[in-house]
Symmetry: C2
Subunit: 253 residues, 2 copies
């Protein structure tokens, strides 16, 4: 039976370990900087916790799910393992393996994970890449065990993908937060606007965002835009944001 | 049997007429600046098209779904009708009825509509308000025939709601568009990022946006943010946008 080791037990490590386990794969060893988290995850998936990276044993797949800035140090401390090694970061290039004795790869799940939220992992796009092209088919095979959506993405593309994800996920979430605050200040509930958020995301699942843009900016409704800016005048950064986004929409950017 | 007239056959008028029709209500007359659109909609719901506003007959409910800047003129041209009159705009206050011989109200559906997209109208929040408080219960009754989510919202709140909707819908859609362009420029498909958009919107259906914010800005990952800004350097408005949103997220705004 094939065995996987998971390094890191944050949001990504947890979701990946659970998805691997659900696919009937054996998680052998788990390591985490925070031992309690490792124990918690290990119990869920029937794995062993290792206290030190040097105690890791050979495995078929070793997934490095630690934070970006911890990756170099983790890779430095890995013993000379047999097995396919891949990290899960969108932003870290293959150069991170340069000083290691092995060649490494990437298995980047393009999704926003929270430990408390279940997710259908088969719908999560997985982007794969490997320093050693001959190992790419094997890495792809692993990825297809987890998801129906596996893409070969090179390092240059992955960097852009990561940036695009910030625009498609992190920034919209902050705009939701702005909307929530505006409602709250007027004694209204965020529930009022939740269906709108769902529908806005649903609309672009078939169409391109440009085709379904609505609102005062795309209509060129200057009167409404001026009123909106007036309403925001107590928060200059919000006015700037409103103006910048409206200008871009109006100009078809 | 109670009868409704629908003035305007754009996205909102169309969706409202279809929803009324599905609720078993009779649409009597439809007027639209664009007669072809009126005919198209009238055929779908078995209504009659009127060529001039002055030909409108009494009805139980007269819904004004025309564009914001056309409302004043449409109200001016309305004959002295019997029936409950309400407009569907989020941005137009009750003052629009000031010079008319009747008192009017608002039935504002807080959703983004496209003619080509079906929608469960029972999940659309409807915000109601009326100049004549004694008519509000009747307007609410009409609203509950259409939707499970009816809210009393006064003019001041509605203005803020409309502004919040721009932040929760129009602006996120533009950010999706930016993400689509970034991918396209690197030969990647927007499909790669669609599941992320769905999940980002789904996450805030239970949680508050602030609780589920992810990404480099909230982590304070300066290295990644600097890299991202470098990647955007050919588009100064995108750099400004990236910096502005990241600053706000970092500062917990």
């Amino acid at each position: 039976m094939r065995r996987v080791s998971v390094i890191g037990s944050g949001n990504v490590g947890t979701h990946l370990a659970l998805a691997l386990n659900q696919s009937g794969l054996k998680i052998g060893q788990i390591w985490s900087r925070n031992r309690d988290h490792a124990v918690e995850l290990a119990e869920k998936v029937g794995a062993f916790v290792v206290d030190e990276l040097k105690s890791l044993e050979d495995a078929d797949l070793i997934l490095l799910t630690v934070k970006d800035d911890a990756l170099v140090e983790v890779i430095r401390q890995l013993p000379p393992l047999k097995g396919l090694v891949a990290h899960t970061s969108g932003a870290v290039s293959l150069e991170v393996y340069q000083k290691s004795p092995f060649q490494g790869g990437v298995l980047y799940p393009l999704q926003t994970f929270s430990k408390s939220r279940e997710l259908d992992f088969r719908q999560v796009p997985l982007c794969v890449e490997h320093e050693d092209k001959s190992q790419l088919p094997l890495l792809k095979e692993w990825a297809t065990l987890l998801s129906d959506k596996v893409y070969e993405v090179d390092s240059a593309q992955r960097k852009v993908l990561h940036l695009a994800a910030v625009f498609a996920c992190n920034f919209p979430n902050h705009l939701y937060q702005i909307a929530a605050r505006l409602l709250e200040n007027q004694g209204m509930d965020f529930d009022l606007i939740r269906p709108l958020i769902t529908e806005t995301a649903a609309k672009v699942q078939q169409a391109s965002p440009q085709m379904v843009q609505t609102g005062p900016a795309i209509r060129g409704d200057l009167q409404t835009m001026n009123k909106h800016e007036e309403m925001l005048q107590n928060d200059s950064s919000l006015v700037t944001l409103y103006r910048l986004l409206s200008e871009r929409i109006k100009n078809g950017e």
